[in-house]
């Protein structure tokens, strides 16, 4: 759509600008403030320069939780994207199956995140949980509160349960926007099922899939509540992801300076990766 140039449009944006700035600018400046200073309680501050940043960037603890975070996000994307696309492709396209699938699949998305954690906790408990009990009676030695491998398995399974539907719904919306004529043309040309997927469906889903990657990346990179309730970062530090570590440092130990520096580094990493995705997405949109 060709838009007209109109500076008065700013008036429409003011309420949003004020509300978001109120929430974003002041707290963010507080974080920036802390990151350069040492606190001695009762509002006494001393300038520390970039000391906290250097400390965080060289700290093994930060490297470890950042590493865990990247591995987790990578596994999540690797499982959820193909699985989500596969489910969307096999979902019914019309009839009573559509609302049933949509409603049931959206359910996990609307459960408060700590309830998701608590639900999976009791579901996976080795003695009284269905998952834990079944795995153990099948002969696996499964205990997610003791063994880090099991903790990872449970956290990933929980996230797959919680968020795959988002990918399904996005892909389904993309598939629905394909005109039947495309499929008819493919049939006349004698295209195989794979060709239809590769040359018709995948290109048509490109936009929503970029969005899916963007959303899944952001949210899995910020994951806090679910693993906090499920494993609390344990056993040991096995599932101590970035947000968990950050909150432990800021609210648990009150190391405000290092925690603030870590927040900023954390935020910048998310921002950088999202900016790349966003640019790709917008470039694509501009071309059309």
């Amino acid at each position: 759509m060709n838009k007209t140039f109109n500076q008065k449009a700013w008036y429409f944006v003011i309420p949003v600008f004020v509300l978001v700035a109120f929430n974003a600018v002041v707290p963010l400046m507080t974080v920036v403030n802390y990151s350069f200073q040492e606190t001695f309680g009762s509002n006494v501050f001393a300038w520390e320069g970039t000391r906290w940043f250097k400390q965080i960037l060289h700290s093994e603890r930060f490297h470890a939780s950042l590493g865990r975070q990247f591995i987790f996000t990578f596994i999540i994307l690797l499982i959820q994207l193909p699985l989500g696309i596969a489910i969307a492709l096999t979902m019914p396209k019309k009839g009573w199956g559509v609302p049933v699938c949509l409603i049931l699949m959206s359910m996990p998305l609307l459960i408060p995140w700590n309830v998701v954690g608590a639900m999976w906790n009791i579901f996976a408990l080795p003695d009284i949980g269905f998952l834990g009990n079944s795995l153990n009676s099948l002969g696996f030695d499964y205990n997610f509160t003791q063994q880090s491998g099991d903790a990872w398995f449970t956290t990933i399974l929980m996230d797959v349960w919680h968020w795959t539907s988002l990918v399904v719904l996005l892909s389904y919306a993309g598939l629905n926007s394909i005109q039947p004529a495309y499929y008819q043309a493919a049939e006349i040309d004698g295209a195989s099922r794979w060709d239809v997927f590769r040359y018709i469906e995948l290109p048509k889903m490109k936009k929503v899939l970029t969005l899916a990657i963007l959303l899944r990346f952001m949210d899995s990179f910020m994951i806090y509540t679910e693993p906090f309730v499920l494993t609390g970062g344990g056993p040991g530090n096995a599932t101590n992801f970035l947000s968990l570590d950050l909150v432990k440092m800021a609210l648990g130990q009150f190391d405000l300076g290092p925690a603030a520096a870590m927040s900023l580094i954390y935020f910048l990493i998310v921002l950088l990766i999202c900016w790349v995705f966003y640019s790709l997405m917008m470039k694509d949109e501009g071309r059309k």
Partner: protein, 266 residues
């Protein structure tokens, strides 16, 4: 081939329903039964857990609090985002692209980063432990989201609609409320659904910003589980009840939900 096709979504849905079933199963058992007897359905069916929640005000007020700030947030987010999304979808103005990306960056900010400064900030403006504080703090990620979804829906409405209305002598306000808003009603419904959803499921900020008066149900659950040594039955019942509002709103938007998740940009 037809039969195999049904298998994938069916297995997926069974996988989705299993933990939910387990939660429901536990909510109808007493805590002693949960700990001592492993069974796939309640042996000694009881409604006591639910009775406790509906008679104890510290429990049921949690639901009231959660619903209150969620509704506040939905109203604030959508009414602020409507004009802004219109501006983004219809006009170019100085800094529009930067502003749009800046808005989105707030959706990208990890809530953990904001937990502590929010606590201090809302305490210093005397809003700590109020519903409005949580509603305002959730604007941080809900307004960008609302602007994004609404902009997608509005851009799909041809500009000729606006122009015809002006030719017909409509003023801007009259056009916006009488013609434009009814045209994108579905989009507004979807946006409200998303604001409700993200405000409902968020806990970190809601927990940080409250102490007693406005405490959300999700936070009450975590507190109870730690002090009285895991009252599992009660916990399961409280958890099961938090699924209900979500299930109700999904039902209303079921036909648009897929398009909504695509942010109206399919």
């Amino acid at each position: 081939m037809k039969k195999i096709k049904w298998a994938v979504p069916t297995f997926y849905i069974i996988f989705l329903m299993l933990p939910i079933y387990w939660l429901l199963n536990m909510s109808f058992k007493s805590t002693t039964e949960i700990i001592n007897v492993y069974s796939l359905w309640p042996q000694d069916f009881t409604l006591d857990n639910y009775k406790t929640i509906f008679t104890d005000s510290t429990w049921y007020m949690g639901y009231v609090n959660s619903i209150m700030y969620t509704v506040f947030n939905t109203i604030i987010s959508v009414s602020a985002a409507l004009p802004a999304a219109y501006a983004f979808s219809r006009y170019k103005f100085l800094g529009d692209k930067h502003l749009f990306f800046w808005l989105l960056t707030n959706r990208m900010a990890p809530p953990a980063v904001f937990a502590l400064p929010f606590f201090q900030f809302y305490s210093s403006v005397n809003l700590f432990d109020t519903h409005i504080a949580i509603a305002l703090s959730h604007c941080l990620f809900n307004i960008p989201l609302a602007v994004w979804i609404l902009e997608g829906f509005m851009s799909a409405v041809p500009k000729e609609l606006d122009e015809t209305a002006y030719v017909d002598g409509y003023s801007f306000t009259k056009f916006f409320f009488k013609i434009f808003i009814p045209t994108i009603a579905a989009g507004i419904g979807i946006t409200m659904f998303f604001c409700f959803m993200f405000s409902w499921v968020e806990l970190l900020l809601a927990k940080t910003l409250t102490a007693t008066i406005a405490k959300p149900i999700a936070a009450i659950m975590t507190r109870t589980s730690s002090t009285s040594g895991y009252e599992l039955g009660l916990l399961a019942a409280a958890g099961s009840l938090t699924i209900l509002p979500g299930a109700v709103v999904i039902y209303f938007v079921r036909n648009y939900i897929a398009k909504g998740f695509a942010m109206g940009r399919v």
